[in-house]
């Protein structure tokens, strides 16, 4: 009355009940047996255990296409998941992925208890509105960096598990970023303000990119590099210790995401210099999108109000953070240089954006 699978299981259990065990698994992987590890000062990290036999990352990921762990013995009849499309190491790898995973695990924080919320204080209306608008913008963009890795993870060959594990930490980091900015917007008598249509253009480009590496270049290096500078701006402009702490903690996470992206692009371009043009093309699109985003009133004006110390000094504030855009561009170009991409001569947006130039363009100066 049972089907074939259940009957086979029952037969096997009957054999075991009679004392007939297989035990083949015990000697299945002699090359991987007897592995020795030495925990470091911070405990037992992934870097500590992935040595010798287990450090052999194949250039072409396993052809069995299953979730079988790298370094084990994989039986011939292991079925494939038929999910993996990213089977080349160069498509996802980064030499720092393992280390960044360890670091991310070690440097987690949480928005419930690690932010001194008790230090929130009533702020003038224009300042509270500016903080809340800045937070609204971050709540909108943060989780694209969770959605993007989530979209690709199940397509990454399981032999590159370090990359998957790192991306999993990034998803958690972004969840925390989205949640901490939402909390700040809602925590001090204000609330969320206006969404940003211009951000959606960039977010869509990240999520719709044709392949993982172009998506990663656009997000990890370009988008998150810009956000990293905006987190530094947030700390600089913060009206209380609460926002200062939030931005410093987020900044740390963001720098890890950028570090993965830079090293991944470097690894990829060293092996596929012929793909440079595709990376440039997606950056063309990204630069134009971020340019529109940077100049959107809901992006720039709250920062100018905070920099000026109030709405009455918004122009002074604009001048005070005039260096922000060129700083973002400079760091972006320098990161691409580390990855082996010369971008300066290919940029489709200006490298500088001073108030003087803008006034000159408007015929005011």
């Amino acid at each position: 009355m049972y089907n074939a699978v259940v009957n086979e299981g029952l037969d096997r259990m009957s054999e075991m009940a009679r004392g007939n065990f297989d035990l083949d698994w015990m000697d299945s992987n002699p090359a991987g047996w007897g592995h020795e590890v030495k925990p470091g000062k911070t405990g037992l990290t992934l870097c500590d255990v992935e040595t010798g036999h287990y450090d052999q990352v194949p250039e072409h990921g396993s052809s069995h296409g299953s979730l079988a762990p790298r370094g084990c013995m994989v039986p011939d009849d292991t079925p494939s998941l038929d999910m993996y499309t990213l089977n080349e190491m160069s498509e996802v790898w980064s030499d720092n992925a393992r280390h960044l995973y360890d670091e991310a695990c070690n440097r987690q924080w949480n928005s419930t208890t690690d932010v001194p919320w008790h230090k929130l204080e009533k702020l003038p209306d224009d300042i509270e509105k500016s903080v809340c608008q800045m937070c609204t913008g971050f709540v909108e963009v943060e989780f694209v960096a969770g959605d993007m890795p989530a979209k690709w993870m199940c397509h990454i060959n399981h032999d590159f598990h370090e990359v998957k594990l790192f991306l999993a930490t990034q998803i958690m980091d972004e969840a925390r970023h989205m949640d901490v900015f939402r909390k700040r917007a809602l925590a001090n008598g204000g609330g969320l303000l206006m969404a940003s249509p211009a951000s959606e253009e960039l977010l869509a480009a990240i999520l719709q990119a044709n392949d993982y590496t172009t998506a990663s270049s656009l997000m990890h290096i370009f988008g998150e590099g810009f956000i990293l500078t905006l987190f530094r701006t947030g700390e600089f402009l913060a009206p209380t210790e609460v926002e200062k702490t939030i931005f410093r903690l987020c900044m740390q996470d963001e720098a890890r995401h950028v570090a993965y992206g830079v090293k991944h692009l470097k690894y990829f371009l060293e092996r596929h210099p012929e793909r440079e043009g595709e990376i440039h093309s997606i950056l063309d699109a990204g630069e134009q999108a971020i340019f529109r985003l940077t100049l959107e009133p809901q992006t720039i004006e709250p920062r100018a109000i905070l920099a000026g110390g109030g709405i009455e000094n918004i122009e002074l504030g604009m001048a005070r953070i005039g260096f922000l855009y060129s700083k973002q561009i400079r760091e972006y170009l320098h990161r691409l240089k580390v990855a082996g991409l010369e971008r300066e001569s290919r940029m489709v947006i200006p490298a500088e954006l001073s108030v003087e130039t803008l006034l000159e363009r408007a015929g005011v100066a």
Partner: protein, 159 residues
């Protein structure tokens, strides 16, 4: 370390003072997580007994690893720094203002955090051999801030 005896800034002893407090407060640093970076502090415009390449310039290297920092040394020039590092550069006057602010308040006020001082590249500048090295300053920022915050715990004198 006698907590009432002023320690001269900049000096190896001053940084060792912070390093030893880091050891005493390891639990705090464990909470923030492990660090892995090398910081070079460059002090310009001090009294002209500096060993640096320009008169009055001084360089100190602190290597952060895991939950502490066990290597502190004065460098004769930036060329002596480890290959991987970032540089925090400011005038003695700026360093003094930051340290005194930390000492007076127990921690920096809103306008004396490392990020606040470095963000506009003035009065403090962060540089490095490449952008990823500079990025380590952002990646461990809260731990580095905590490191300097310990300057509240002993008096500092200046050259």
């Amino acid at each position: 370390m006698g907590k009432n005896k002023a320690i001269l800034f900049p000096s190896e002893d001053w940084f060792r003072g912070l390093v030893s407090l880091m050891g005493e407060q390891e639990a705090t640093y464990r909470e923030l997580g492990a660090t892995d970076c090398t910081m070079v502090v460059k002090v310009t415009g001090g009294a002209s007994q500096g060993t640096g390449e320009d008169e009055g310039e001084k360089f100190f290297e602190v290597v952060f690893e895991d939950y502490g920092a066990d290597k502190v040394r004065e460098l004769a020039s930036i060329e002596e720094a480890s290959a991987s590092h970032f540089v925090l550069e400011a005038s003695l006057e700026t360093w003094r203002e930051m340290i005194d602010n930390i000492r007076d308040n127990g921690s920096p006020d809103l306008e004396h955090t490392l990020n606040y001082l470095t963000f506009p590249d003035d009065p403090m500048l962060v540089t490095g051999p490449d952008q990823l090295e500079v990025d380590t300053f952002y990646r461990y920022n809260e731990s580095l801030q905590r490191f300097f915050n310990a300057a509240a715990e002993f008096p500092t004198s200046y050259a």
